[in-house]
């Protein structure tokens, strides 16, 4: 009840000034009021006052949001637009249930540390049957239309060996606790959280992250019972699944004596650092012991770029100074808007003397992947990416760096679709 009351207050705070219109990536594509935060809040308000049923149109509109947070950041009245939309999604799931395909995927596959790797391993083995090589670096074009895969979509290939299955990574699962006595003498220790993007699609990002931490003098462990961060479920309104995953992850890291919990994925960082707190608080789970555990976990979470730039003061050795490449940086919403990380990744790139950094226009505009939009409405999702692709083209960059595997997948797809010739890399791959 308290939550509902809070939500109503939040909805009433919207004075309909319209500041949220042009800044919204979905509104820019759809061009109708129902796609703006102001419109969605109107619909959600009507729904909560029982003036509107859960109709197909209502569901469509509340799903048309990448949850990038641009509207929330720009709202002069400080309306928590994302909170409202997320609550509306959760409410809809509660009343209606998730659509079948998403339900199966989120509940049974994401929610199981065993099933997810198994399902994806099967997919890795059969991907040659479903996808043909597009000839573009690191991408396969879908040959057949799969349930979540549209024709012509650039799908990242699954890794042959998943990150957490690599022998060298498995070897990092065991940890020796530090004693009070030797704590000061031993190097900083980071526990690496891979997340699905790094684990299944981009193990190299994980490998490079570990290398960089070590090079800067840190020590790394990789807990082996870690699972998906649960953010896809959270953003599609499946709070229960997200909560289960959060608990499993906290348990997975509790046995390790580390200074930081580090990820190379903007969404995972935000999930682990902030959303876990939200998921594991509230009326049902309010226990002091739980709060202490969650806080202990969340306070250690840090993005790899922040750890390298601010804590470890990473120094790049640079590469070939004679063959400089122009690099630009895309701000993942979850790092930039939600955690305020903007300078660190840029500093790391600028520190590499074989790169020339060039800011693109609208570096903070959403890539189009988030909020479940790429799953529920791919056409919208990839239309949003168009603006990003144009910014990259206009910047003249040869490499787009970012700090989120999700953004990497989406921007690669977008650059391919809109014919922009540039590579997309994680910052840690460019150190």
């Amino acid at each position: 009840m308290e939550e509902l009351k809070h939500l109503k207050d939040e909805i009433n705070k919207c004075v309909k000034c319209g500041t949220c219109r042009s800044i919204c990536p979905t509104f820019r594509v759809i061009g109708r009021e129902s796609a703006s935060a102001r419109g969605k809040i109107t619909l959600i308000g009507a729904r909560f006052n029982s003036e509107l049923d859960i109709t197909d149109a209502y569901l469509k509109h509340i799903k048309e949001c990448t949850m990038c947070g641009a509207c929330r950041d720009t709202c002069p009245n400080g309306v928590d637009t994302i909170g409202i939309i997320n609550a509306a999604r959760a409410q809809a799931v509660k009343e209606q249930g998730l659509p079948l395909a998403a339900n199966l995927f989120l509940k049974n596959i994401l929610d199981s540390s065993k099933l997810m790797p198994f399902a994806l391993k099967c997919a890795a083995r059969f991907q040659g049957v479903f996808f043909k090589d597009s000839g573009v670096d690191n991408g396969l074009l879908s040959r057949f239309s799969l349930p979540l895969v549209g024709q012509g979509r650039l799908i990242p290939p699954l890794a042959e060996t998943f990150f957490l299955d690599m022998p060298e990574v498995k070897a990092l699962a065991s940890d020796t606790a530090r004693t009070e006595k030797n704590r000061a003498a031993r190097p900083l220790k980071a526990a690496f959280y891979a997340g699905c993007g790094v684990n299944y699609l981009m193990p190299n990002v994980g490998v490079k992250s570990i290398e960089a931490v070590r090079k800067a003098g840190g020590d790394v462990v990789v807990p082996d019972s870690q699972v998906c961060c649960g953010m896809p479920a959270y953003y599609m309104g499946d709070v229960e699944t997200a909560r289960n995953l959060a608990l499993k992850n906290i348990e997975a890291f509790e046995g390790y004596d580390c200074d930081y919990i580090v990820t190379a994925c903007a969404t995972c960082t935000y999930g682990l650092k902030s959303v876990f707190k939200e998921l594991l608080s509230g009326e049902s789970i309010r226990s002091r012991e739980m709060t202490a555990r969650v806080n202990a976990f969340c306070s250690k979470v840090m993005d790899i770029t922040v750890l390298l730039a601010d804590v470890l003061k990473y120094r790049s050795e640079g590469g070939n100074k004679d063959a400089k490449r122009i690099v630009t940086y895309h701000d993942p919403c979850h790092l930039n808007r939600n955690l305020g990380v903007r300078d660190e990744p840029r500093e790391l790139l600028k520190g590499n003397s074989s790169l020339v950094f060039k800011q693109m226009r609208f570096p903070c505009s959403c890539c189009g992947l988030g909020g479940g939009v790429s799953l529920t409405n791919y056409e919208l999702s990839i239309e949003i990416t168009k603006r990003k692709a144009e910014s990259v083209r206009d910047s003249g960059a040869e490499v787009v760096a970012t700090a989120c595997p999700g953004c990497i997948v989406q921007i690669r797809d977008g650059l391919h679709r809109y014919g922009v010739d540039a590579e997309v890399k994680h910052v840690v791959e460019l150190l």
């Binding site: 009021e33 109709t55 149109a57």
Partner: protein
């Protein structure tokens, strides 16, 4: 409610996907930035003047109201369907048709967002000055309908000063062209000026020819902080008296500063009584020279500090702060009446002192900010609707503010328009003969009263008894 046959006719005109009668869409087109809500009966998303012409002809035949709408960010209720009817969204008409650098003009569709248009012209070294506070999300069409102003009006004037010509669909469905593509032009009546600021009651703009200027070489931004807002206002008069016309001369009082700083965190001194955001533009040497003079004047007017913003980000933050003032004020009280009176620039101090007196007398919080350089002050009467005393006092205070502004030889609205919010105050400023002429003009354009009904004039005045009724009898309401 529309009959099935009208719905089908509308679908036929704009296409199935561009006509909606769903409750979800109707809810989304039931409001504007005044936060007043009234449900329409349908929404269409038109893309050509021909489609709009067809819609207007249908509306005349069937007798339903049509409410044109850009971004729905107006401040006087101009795009709210107060009597129901059909909302005509121009959101799809968002092409910049041409930018003619040789003749310093551009042709655009009404749904172009003002700021995005400015970005395009500025990339070519050109300049479209009108900058309403909503410029990042409001559209040229809406700006034209309301004759939007903005901070730069002090030096560059308002929207009407940049509209050279229009393509307009008349309420009866004819498509006309007004104005010229030349610097001069006196052929016939100046219909362009009549349409600009007519609040969507005389026609629907489907294309606008806009005047451009060369982009000034540089802009210098300064922030002056004062212990009392009246000191800030005094500095405004002194700057103008010194024969300097800044490109921006914006004022904020203590309440506005506090609310805005809470949101924008631009480093404004939250305990200051007033501040001025000042910009001078032009050649580097001139702006530097003017900045020095302005700094001196501010200090003579008791400024606590005068600082030039050195970095681009700093300037951006200051503007974000200023532009968020109107909405951020809701942090102080849940409701407000936002008026935009204008007085001759020399009377700004008297206006502010008068508003302070009204606030004290009515025991209300009244926040002032705005375009002090051109005498246009946004007077925000803050209140709580659930408090009976405040709910009664607030509209009384507004009338007092209007009386004050008119007494100082000013006007009751500088840039928001009348819409529904100010219709009942029209007679405070205009004489009966002038209002009667305006209503007769409206009737000539729109004999059946189908375009944006219920705006500017009180419905009682538009009734048959007033003598200004529609020539062919009162409009048939659906």
């Amino acid at each position: 409610m529309f009959t099935e046959s009208i719905k089908n006719e509308l679908r036929r005109i704009v296409g199935e996907a561009n006509a909606s009668f769903s409750k979800e869409d109707l809810l989304c087109y039931s409001y504007d930035a005044t936060n007043k809500v009234s449900m329409p009966d349908g929404v269409v998303f038109a893309s050509t003047p021909e489609e709009i012409s067809g819609i207007m002809k249908t509306a005349n035949a069937a007798g339903f109201g049509v409410i044109p709408r850009g971004a729905g960010t107006g401040a006087s209720g101009g795009s709210v369907p107060v009597e129901g009817g059909l909302v005509l969204s121009l959101e799809r008409m968002k092409k910049i048709i041409e930018i003619d650098a040789e003749n310093l003009l551009a042709v655009v569709e009404p749904g172009v967002v003002t700021w995005e248009f400015q970005q395009e012209v500025e990339a070519r070294g050109l300049f479209y000055p009108p900058d309403p506070t909503s410029l990042k999300f409001s559209t040229i069409g809406g700006n034209i309908a309301e004759c939007a102003g903005g901070p730069r009006a002090v030096k560059y004037g308002v929207t009407r000063d940049y509209v050279m010509g229009l393509e307009v669909v008349l309420p009866t469905g004819e498509i006309i062209n007004t104005g010229v593509r030349t610097v001069k032009g006196v052929v016939g009546y100046d219909l362009t000026r009549l349409i600009v600021g007519s609040e969507g009651t005389l026609g629907i703009v489907t294309k606008a020819t806009l005047k451009l200027l060369p982009l000034p070489e540089t802009t210098k931004t300064m922030l002056a902080v004062f212990p009392d807002v009246k000191d800030a206002a005094r500095a405004v008069s002194e700057i103008i008296k010194a024969r300097i016309i800044p490109s921006t001369l914006e004022l904020m009082d203590g309440v506005s500063i506090k609310c805005v700083e809470e949101f924008a965190k631009a480093g404004l001194p939250a305990d200051a009584g007033g501040l001025l955001l000042i910009e001078v533009d032009g050649a580097v040497e001139t702006t530097e020279k003017e900045a020095v003079i302005i700094e001196g004047i501010c200090k003579d007017s008791r400024a606590i500090s005068v600082q030039a913003a050195s970095e681009k980000n700093e300037v951006k933050n200051l503007w974000k702060a200023r532009r968020s003032a109107s909405a951020a004020l809701f942090r102080a009280r849940p409701h407000k009446i936002n008026e935009d009176v204008v007085v001759p620039r020399s009377a700004v101090v008297e206006l502010i002192a008068g508003v302070e007196e009204i606030a004290e007398r009515k025991n209300l919080l009244i926040a002032c900010f705005g375009h002090a350089g051109d005498g246009n002050i946004h007077v925000n009467v803050m209140y709580d609707r659930s408090d009976p005393r405040e709910a009664k006092a607030a509209p009384e205070a507004v009338e007092d503010v209007f009386r004050l502004a008119l007494g100082l030889k000013g006007t009751i609205s500088g840039e928001h328009g009348i819409g529904t919010a100010k219709a009942k105050y029209l007679g405070m400023e205009l004489g009966p003969a002038a209002i009667d002429l305006m209503m007769r003009i409206k009737n000539v354009f729109d004999p059946r009263g189908v375009l944006n009904p219920g705006k500017i004039f009180l419905q009682a005045d538009m009734s048959p008894a007033s003598g200004a009724r529609p020539a062919q009898g009162a409009p048939v309401r659906h």
